[in-house]
Symmetry: C2
Subunit: 232 residues, 2 copies
């Protein structure tokens, strides 16, 4: 593994506060792997053998059942996923696949649990991480239950602009098919939602979106910090 990777992982909130020797022992037992796009990493129902950390690329967490499939979350570098299953020695509730070529670090679950029991810094960091994850899922649920499809798309654009420091022109980080699934709708309806929003201050051309009148967009989508603010 590159030392730059190790530094990156070490600086994640989850690993920043633990003792150096425990961090070293986790990293030593870990596997670094490269995957092309569209590779199944994990399957829901399998026992949680590893904690995953995405270093590069993008991983989609999704669930199936009743002949349907639904995207639950999108993991962007650098962050971990499947922490809860790892800690509980339980099975995964979601499946995971790469949606672009990715570099992923796998830490054996038993190592994580062992260190968790002996390192208070790590334990405290996991508490924070889990609380954050929990709140994200709650926000995602509210987003889904309290908003229409068009509003979800609009608020997604607003968030995207915020992440781009308010630039007028933003670029979609994933294909529209995947984006639709992320936002809980079909690709057809995403298309229609974009058209609908052209009357509310945006201009779409391919993967590029121009926010021509943010005030109008905001007035229509009514972003809510209790749903959209990812920092709290």
């Amino acid at each position: 593994m590159q030392s730059v990777d190790i530094d990156q992982i070490r600086s994640l909130p989850l690993f920043a506060t633990m003792a150096q020797e425990n961090f070293d022992s986790l990293v030593t037992g870990a596997y670094l792997q490269r995957f092309p796009a569209q590779v199944e990493l994990i399957n829901e129902g399998d026992l949680a053998d590893f904690l995953y950390i995405v270093l590069e690329g993008r991983v989609e967490l999704y669930s199936t059942g009743n002949d349907r499939e639904t995207t639950m979350a999108m993991i962007t570098p650098v962050s971990t996923f499947l922490l809860a299953a790892t800690i509980k020695s339980a099975c995964y509730l979601m499946s995971g696949r790469t949606i672009k070529a990715s570099r992923v670090l796998l830490i054996p679950s038993e190592d994580v649990r062992r260190v968790l029991d002996i390192d208070p810094g790590f334990s405290r960091a996991i508490v924070d991480e889990l609380a954050t994850c929990y709140r994200s899922v709650v926000k995602a649920t509210k987003n889904l239950k309290l908003r229409t499809a068009v509003e979800r798309v609009g608020n997604y654009i607003i968030r995207l602009q915020d992440k781009s420091d308010g630039a007028d022109m933003v670029e979609l980080p994933v294909g529209k098919r995947v984006l639709a699934s992320m936002l809980g709708m079909t690709p057809e309806n995403l298309s229609r939602a974009f058209s609908a929003l052209q009357s509310y201050g945006i201009l779409v051309s391919g993967p590029r979106i121009e926010i021509t009148d943010r005030a109008v967009l905001v007035a229509y989508c009514k972003p809510d910090p209790l749903i959209d603010d990812m920092t709290s």
Copy 2:
């Protein structure tokens, strides 16, 4: 506070592993309160001043926005809620109200955070509790996104029967209006869902439900341990 209450709280997984003195200090600083039904306990957006523990009664967690309201979870005794907000010193993401007369213990958030930092047993228990909460929300989301309204009702009945040790006759623990909201549908549709399920092995009369043919019900509703098993 009654000592029987204290024992009950102490035996919760969240408080079972902490040092006695820390437990005592939490309980000493706590407030025990009684509320009638339909009292607003907390409002989303407010700062998390307390960790709540429901000792008796029932508390509904719900969210509002866009002129809509949606039930997020139902808290039954004896358990805690709003742990994540408490830990992160953040604001509540959900509002809470009693739906029957309830006894609730309030522990100041700063006490929880203080003890969390000094008691490894408590910290470890919080990790488990948060992981469990996280997984419940994920399961609830899957239930909502992957199933139709009728299937959700059917699986709810199946779970209810399991909790009643497989008795043929079960009783709804909450009114149908609230139940509908819990299951993410309108009261009208809950009514229709019950009618629809009469063809699949159940018989409804008021708040009492007879499971006449569990095999048929199960075949129709296809319960999934990755959604319905609350113990994993």
